[in-house]
Structures are given as structure tokens and as C-alpha cells.
């Protein structure tokens, strides 16, 4: 239990940590008691991430909503757990799910159009210091259509800020392969986002 998210000081992409996280996920799927117990502690990151993001978005959801959404998100996390490959720390992987679930929940409350006007983060989006919530959301949704190996390279490049040589070493592939996967992923993501934008920011209007 010393391994709960906020006591683990290791970097989110520490390879040893990633291996442990993958083992943990497999243990949970195998219903191993010790793994379930550790996962119970680690899963607290779900409401924590939701609460943090919700606060950043100006608290469109109340505490009760967050507690409720945390339960729903847990189910999504659990159902997708067999897709977890240990390419990112469990918390990072959960973060993306939380983000999308939170945006869905906010949209369900029909508050997003109103948010768009009011969110301070959107104002700064123009400066590219911090992307707008829907921009992050679109990128995460775009990841879903990419190959896992493309997302991995993109993640190592932009989350871990590695060079292509470092990415290649981490994934045990050539630097050329890393570059090809990166460019392919980036191009697909670009096309996905363009189509999404052409759909008239339908997600916002819904």
C-alpha cells in the first residue's frame, strides 16, 4: 500500500514503475487479492483527477456529481483495464479516461456552451500556453483512432520530452522507425482534428 499514487515519488514514466503497473493491472484482472487491495488504493486517483480537473474548469460539477462520476469512471477504467499495456503510468492512463468522462458529464449537464464563454483557460488558449479543455479532449479522442505504437511515440516525445534517439532506445526500435511512427501518428491526428473541426465543433453544440 506504500505504492499509492501520491506516495510514489518515482517519475511517471519510470520503466520499473511501468512494469509494476502492468503487473498490477494483470493481477486485478486475475482477481488476485493483493492486487485488488493495491488497486483499491490507486483507484483513488480517479476522484482526485476528476476533482482537480473540475476545479480547473471552474467547478461545473458539484461534489456529489464528482463522487458519482468517479464510480462511473471506475467502471470504464475496469472494463478497459485489459487494454492497459503499461506504456504510461496507471495514473496517466486513467487520467485520459477521467478527462473524457468528465467532459462527457459536463456536456450532459448542458453547461459546456456556457463554460466556453466563461472559462479563463479558453482566453489563454490563443497564446498556446494552455490549450482549451475541448482541445485537450479532441487530442485524447484522436488518440483512440491511432495505433498504440503511434501514441506511444507521441507520448514519449511530448509528455516525456525525449529525443527521437531516446524514444528509439526506450522502445527498442530504430530512430527512423520512431520518426516514421511519430509522423504517421501526427498526420492521422491532424486529419482527425481537421474533420472534427469541419463538423462544426459539433461536440460543443451538443
Amino acid at each position: 500500500m506504500q505504492n499509492s499514487s501520491h506516495t510514489d515519488e518515482r517519475h511517471l514514466s519510470d520503466p520499473e514503475r511501468l512494469r509494476e503497473d502492468l503487473e498490477l493491472a494483470r493481477g486485478v484482472l486475475g482477481k488476485q487479492e493483493a492486487a485488488i487491495e493495491r488497486f483499491a488504493e490507486r483507484s483513488k486517483c480517479i476522484p482526485r483527477i476528476l476533482a482537480t480537473q473540475n476545479a480547473r474548469l471552474g467547478r461545473p460539477l458539484n461534489e456529489h456529481d464528482i463522487a458519482d462520476l468517479a464510480q462511473d469512471t471506475l467502471i470504464v477504467v475496469w472494463c478497459k483495464l485489459d487494454e492497459f499495456e503499461g506504456r504510461a503510468a496507471l495514473e496517466s492512463w486513467v487520467y485520459r479516461i477521467c478527462y473524457l468522462e468528465l467532459m462527457n458529464a459536463i456536456r450532459k449537464k448542458k453547461r459546456l456552451p456556457h463554460l466556453v464563454e466563461e472559462l479563463p483557460e479558453l482566453a489563454s488558449a490563443a497564446h498556446r500556453e494552455r490549450p482549451a479543455p475541448h482541445e485537450c479532449e479532441d487530442i485524447y479522442r484522436g488518440f483512440e483512432i491511432l495505433e498504440a505504437q503511434e501514441v506511444n511515440v507521441i507520448r514519449l516525445k511530448h509528455f516525456d520530452e525525449l529525443t527521437f534517439d531516446e524514444v528509439a532506445a526506450r522502445l527498442e526500435i530504430s530512430a527512423n522507425t520512431a520518426k516514421t511512427r511519430y509522423y504517421r501518428g501526427l498526420s492521422k491526428l491532424h486529419d482527425f482534428l481537421r474533420n472534427r473541426n469541419e463538423d462544426g465543433r459539433e461536440s460543443l453544440a451538443r
Binding site: C45, P47, L74, E91, R130, H158, H190, L193
Partner: protein, 228 residues
């Protein structure tokens, strides 16, 4: 005119192998408008990716420092309950299946359902929930013309929810999951598909959870379709 070969050069620019301001790259960008706009957009996207992940890193650091987010104890409890659930359920299936197999196979009509001694009706259709109140299954029970809808009554309190699952109860595919409903909040459920794809015998269960994710009671019920 944008050509396929241009993409290879764009890749080299984007991945830092070529400098956009020099040599072949500069020439290409001077002559192809598509390449120019594409490069600009890809660079903006790369910046956006970095920014998105920066938000993610900050948010994860912030979330890791949080200790009393709403519902975190309930989430941990739900994980523990879920971890136990399937294991306990499995054991129960085996017991229930064994009981059914041991029971005399009788032709079961609706009127025989309660209080009779054969397999189907040995499973209770109501129970007292932990902490009081009852859960009663209404349908489908025993021989029915249609499985749908699944319906029950209960004294569930606000914030409580159900987990319902349906499994195959035929000899060929016993225990195969057919449908499930997570965190269901109403007293009726109509999963698809209907007859035709579902077998002529099912066993289904309903579990009641309180708002903190604790299992407060569950029932297992058998049903079969009346033969035409």
C-alpha cells in the same frame, strides 16, 4: 502541386532531420503551398500536444497531492467489492447449478413457481437487504414468453444502484455472460438482444449496492422461454 514525395520531406522537417530554411526543404516549401500550410498545422499540433501533456502532468501532480476528493473512499470500496464479486458469484453459480442438476427435472409451469421443490424455484425471489428493506424480483422468473423486461422492486435508498447480469443456463454454454448492467438505477431493464439470440434458458442475478459501493444483497433467478 502537392506530391506524395513531399510527405517524406515534411516528415524530415517535422522530426528535425532537415532545416526548413535550407536546401531541399526550403525549395519545396517555396514551391508547394500545401506543404507550407501542412507544415504550419503540424507544428501547431505538435505544440498543442506538448501543451496538452503539460496540463496532464500538472493535473497529475496536483491530483497526487489531494487526499480527500469526493467519493474516494467509495471508489476504493467499490474496487474491493468488485474484486470479490465475481469470485463469490462464481462459487454461487456452481452451487446453484449443482442444486439444479440434483433436483428432479420437472416440467415447470408458472403456477408451480413458488414453494415447489424443483430446481428453478429453489432459488428465492426476495430477500432482506443488509440494513433493512427488501429486494423482490418480479420477472422474468420460471417459464416466460419473453425475458424482457427484467423487473424488480426494492427499498433501495437514494444513491443506491444495481448490478444485473444475465448468463446462459443451457448445458452447452452454461455460465456464458449474455448481458450486464452496471450501476443501474431504475427497477426495470431491457437489454438487447431479445429472443432468437438468447438461449431458451437463462440465469440472471441482481445485486444491490449502497451509495458507498457496498454489496447489500443479491438474488439469482432462473428463467426459460416457453416452447412455441
Amino acid at each position: 502541386m502537392h506530391a506524395k514525395e513531399h510527405e517524406a520531406v515534411l516528415q524530415q522537417i517535422v522530426t528535425g532531420e532537415l532545416d526548413a530554411a535550407e536546401g531541399r526543404a526550403a525549395e519545396l516549401l517555396a514551391e508547394c503551398a500545401t506543404c507550407r500550410s501542412r507544415l504550419e498545422e503540424l507544428r501547431a499540433l505538435a505544440q498543442n500536444l506538448s501543451a496538452t501533456f503539460r496540463v496532464e502532468r500538472d493535473a497529475l501532480a496536483e491530483a497526487a497531492g489531494l487526499t480527500d476528493a469526493p467519493g474516494e473512499a467509495a471508489v476504493a470500496a467499490a474496487v474491493r467489492a468488485r474484486g470479490k464479486r465475481r469470485v463469490a458469484r462464481r462459487t454461487f453459480w456452481i452451487a446453484a447449478v449443482a442444486a439444479a442438476a440434483a433436483a428432479v427435472l420437472a416440467v415447470v409451469g408458472d403456477r408451480l413457481l413458488r414453494g415447489s421443490r424443483s430446481g428453478v424455484e429453489e432459488l428465492p425471489h426476495d430477500l432482506i437487504l443488509d440494513g433493512g428493506g427488501t429486494l423482490t424480483v418480479e420477472r422474468p422468473i420460471g417459464t416466460v414468453d419473453s425475458y424482457l423486461p427484467f423487473r424488480w422492486t426494492s427499498d433501495a435508498q437514494p444513491g443506491w444502484y444495481y448490478y444485473v447480469e444475465v448468463r446462459d443456463d443451457t448445458d452447452e454454454r452454461r455460465d456464458e455472460l449474455l448481458a450486464e448492467a452496471e450501476r443501474w438505477r431504475t427497477n426495470e431493464w431491457s437489454p438487447s438482444p431479445e429472443r432468437g439470440t438468447w438461449p431458451d434458458r437463462i440465469v440472471w442475478s441482481i445485486t444491490v449496492y449502497d451509495s458507498t459501493g457496498n454489496d447489500v444483497g443479491s438474488l439469482v433467478v432462473r428463467a426459460r422461454l416457453a416452447s412455441d
